[in-house]
Subunit: 213 residues, 2 copies
């Protein structure tokens, strides 16, 4: 399933959005790519291309683009105007933190409930959302169509849990377990792997250290 | 600062490591790239190249590589044998979850303490580590050399807090705030941006939906 948007490009839009909202809050109405390039460290050309790809209105020659239109275009492109419904599976430290995240609704994600097998958690609330037994997922999804399963269980059971969610009709998976999960071809998966992110950071540190010696 | 390892390649090593440890736990001693390719969905050639790049011992022709040597080589390459010392700045939901993460020591990261400005948190313990006032960071880093500042504060103060940590001599930043921070050229930064990750997932969902219509 190829896309004309690369993951790297997609990752930049929320960052633009954040900055554009800050500019708007300061009372700015127009933004130029040289200005954004200076703040973000991307090239002016890349910024122009990124905006061109999703913009529904033309820019103002020699000035830039209207901030309010750009914000609307990016929010619409990212689907923030039609939030996706999610459940969090695994309400440990990470799952609990995600259920408490107040900014997800602004990012187009509505978490409806948590699921866990720990009897001490079942029936409790985290971040204002109820926690159900994992066995209740099937019944829950019948009444509440779910777009995304947020997987935050230990690695050892991540695949089993993801397959259970798939069997309940969920086709998109945001996987925070540090392991790959294998699902049928019609499932989409995005991994947030902290071990991988840390590996990139550690390598940068070690290279810097060895260059300074 | 270029490297012969791309971020994508670096991100794969913790994933190999996880799988190799599982294979070892099952009693396996040798692993082949076709087998890993089938499980992970990478190409055999990519796996062979990745191992070649960090391996200190040759493979066994037609069989594969010794799992125990590979695990040692990857752990050494990723710096897991010499863990880096970190502090978490901002002990909200995300910062607290990170302080509670039991698997960081196995990923080469030791969190020594948390820092926050909330008087209700200062003096408390999270995940067995004490929380100090942000103003105590300078004194703390004098006694405890810190490799990495984990930034988990709200976006609005992320840059200010990162600059404070930089002024205390910290040169590596693992940034969980959904905003870019600007630091002098000798700082290394790795961002974990949940909004960006969610943007990639949402785009995959929207493309799938539009293709099925």
């Amino acid at each position: 399933m190829s896309s004309r948007f690369s993951p790297k490009q997609l990752e930049r839009y929320p960052i633009y959005l954040k900055l554009l909202k800050e500019e708007r809050a300061k009372g700015e109405t127009v933004v130029s790519s040289p200005k954004l390039a200076a703040v973000l460290g991307y090239s002016e050309e890349q910024i122009r291309k990124d905006f061109q790809a999703i913009s529904t209105t033309p820019g103002i020659p020699k000035k830039g683009r209207m901030i309010s239109y750009l914000i609307e275009d990016i929010e619409s492109f990212l689907g923030y105007t039609h939030p996706k419904k999610a459940v969090v599976i695994g309400v440990g430290h990470m799952g609990g933190a995600l259920m408490n995240f107040h900014s997800f609704p602004d990012m187009g994600l509505t978490i409806l409930a948590g699921f866990d097998n720990n009897p001490e958690l079942i029936g409790e609330e985290v971040g204002g959302k109820k926690i159900f037994a994992l066995d209740d997922l099937q019944g829950f999804t019948k009444d509440n169509p779910i777009d995304i399963a947020v997987i935050a269980v230990p690695s050892a059971i991540a695949e089993e849990v993801a397959q259970k969610a798939y069997a309940c009709g969920i086709r998109a998976f945001w996987n925070f377990a540090p392991v790959m999960v294998t699902l049928p071809y019609d499932a989409v998966i995005e991994n947030v792997n902290l071990a991988s992110s840390l590996a990139v950071l550690s390598h940068k540190i070690d290279r810097k250290t060895s260059m300074n010696q």
